[in-house]
Symmetry: C2
Subunit: 354 residues, 2 copies
């Protein structure tokens, strides 16, 4: 298994990326190709005490770097020698099994879609982070790759999310819920109402384990393994969780820093505080899978340190080994709507977005 | 000032409603009209040690109760003698200054819209709870009254929310932010992009203090005083906050309940834990204002106890005393779009939803 890692993307590149790759090679038995400026990567390795290129690690030189100021839609074309374009070309050509980057999300999404291409029949790619819940986390699909969705996109997200949760997160018969503002099928906007009918049908046919609408509160409390939503609402969900975590961690800190007695109390529950922090720490998962692309791609957080990069590489390995892209290819006919279709029980016509 | 209170709505009615009303009369110097089954209300008063009707409290008899199984859209018409219909009719006729109910949200919304009516020119009513943030809370408008919105609705929400935050929450020049998935004006769906142009114009004209797009994380951290959003996304934001609060409170409880030492630690920070709980406690605010209606209406949480009802009555008093409905009436011309309008800088046509 060989993982291609963008050495230049992210706030702490290239050092954290190089160190994370080294650790992953040692800890997970994978090979890694670091893509980026050869001299910069070698310098990092030297600083890390590696005078020779360690076994399992190789470098693919790429002289350019995609910056935050570059146009995300066109960066990969304008900078053909970037670690983004060179790395994804290696992935496309089969010279690695998955690609990991902590660089610009928009640029990665455009490049993966236009260079590596989506699975045939998949209309839009989705980003699916694992969000912490009261029952060990859930897959949120989509969290911002596709802000505006049609029912067909969400149908595809539901299938892809279900495969991912089953094979990568190891949840048997993952409970697939549609994020909504009430439990009844009539709740939400047209998007949710029309999607509900499609997911219900897929559930009735035994293709996914659809548990109906899930409200945001119940989603956080762990009612579903897969939370299906458009990228706009998914992003609101994800970022509200992040904000609430940060807000409450801050309040807890204040509570413990008040005086000597409360500081002592903090020592007495230090183990619990550590578990609490770990629970909310996005670095534990490492990155966010980009699904719907014909090859595995992982977006690591822009602020990733070496630990996060290491874990993103582990996640890329699991994604590549899971076979979910084959699942998608084999079942694509069940995820597509004909141009006009009668929607089972409701008798309503569901028009397909062109 | 006289507040009309639905004695029969909510999980703990009528007892909590009657007790909350009694407390409010005592604590806030308001008069209260309790609407509901006279005999039930008198029985509650007796149990509370009040043999005669206390000064400041009166009863308006209503023999019927709107139940959760009633159709929200038509309940007020089908049950003309319900505490909902009788209470809102009193409000409409000027026999009270505001109305408070902990009953069905949908039924209240329909009845307020069709019976009391919206302010002339306001297209949709909005529900605006005060959500806890790292900087003392923000007004979220809308949180679910209107799931599907047009840019014009959101423009009106921005104005109404700004008035409410200024006059009821006492925030001078409240910072109005548009909930979005990125800071740039190009982010989000068509709804956010088109709304951005309208809010920018209102800000440039000095009518509101528009601070641009606000991401959900920054909203939780307190970047805005008013968070403008459609009811679908607003509900996702609100319920994710609630879920995260409940999830993290549960984790904290686990942390402190582990063993004798951690239980001792809990005692040592008990003051802090109380403040933390109070911060996340929706009972402190009491209820959610329904704005856009021609008279003040407050929806109290369905699970309200007497403390929450008491605080909802205080909020109703503040809403009624604030004069924001006059603000809306006086400025309605700035919140309306002609059938087709050129949107300032972008030169794009913004069509109005019919």
């Amino acid at each position: 298994m060989k993982i291609i890692v963008d050495a230049m993307g992210g706030d702490n590149a290239p050092m954290s990326n190089v160190k994370g790759a080294l650790d992953a090679v040692r800890d997970f038995g994978v090979e890694v190709t670091l893509v980026g400026r050869g001299e910069d990567i070698l310098k990092c390795l030297e600083e890390l005490g590696e005078k020779d290129l360690p076994a399992g690690l190789e470098i693919a030189h790429a002289s350019e770097v995609v910056e935050m100021c570059d146009n995300p839609a066109t960066a990969f074309r304008e900078k053909k020698n970037s670690s983004l374009t060179v790395g994804l070309t290696l992935l496309k050509e089969g010279k690695g099994d998955a690609y990991v980057s902590a660089g610009s999300t928009g640029a990665l999404l455009s490049a993966a879609t236009l260079l590596v291409k989506r699975v045939r029949g998949i209309r839009r790619a989705a980003m699916c982070p694992v969000v912490p819940t009261a029952k060990g986390g859930a897959l949120l699909i989509d969290c911002g790759a596709t802000a505006e969705c049609t029912p067909e996109y969400l149908l595809q997200f539901a299938f892809m999310g279900s495969y991912y949760a089953e094979r990568v997160l190891k949840r048997p018969e993952p409970r697939v819920g549609l994020l909504n503002i009430g439990a009844e099928p009539s709740k939400g906007t047209d998007l949710q109402r029309e999607t509900y009918v499609l997911l219900k049908k897929a559930g009735d046919e035994g293709r996914i384990n659809f548990i109906g609408n899930v409200e945001a509160k119940e989603a956080v409390l762990g009612q579903a393994d897969v939370i299906v939503t458009d990228g706009y609402a998914g992003n609101i969900f994800l970022k509200t969780m992040e904000g609430a975590g940060s807000f409450m961690a801050g309040e807890m800190k204040k509570m413990f820093k008040k005086n000597l007695l409360t500081k002592l109390a903090a020592l007495m529950v230090s183990g619990g505080i550590r578990s609490f922090k770990k629970l909310m720490d996005s670095r534990e998962v490492g990155g966010t899978a980009l699904v719907g692309i014909s090859r595995p791609v992982i977006k690591a957080h822009g602020s990733s340190d070496d630990y996060a990069i290491r874990n993103a590489i582990r996640q890329a390995r699991d994604f590549a080994a899971s076979g979910i892209i084959d699942d998608i290819v084999e079942n694509i006919e069940h995820m597509r709507l004909p141009r006009t279709v009668k929607a089972g029980e409701s008798g309503e016509e569901i028009r397909q977005d062109s």
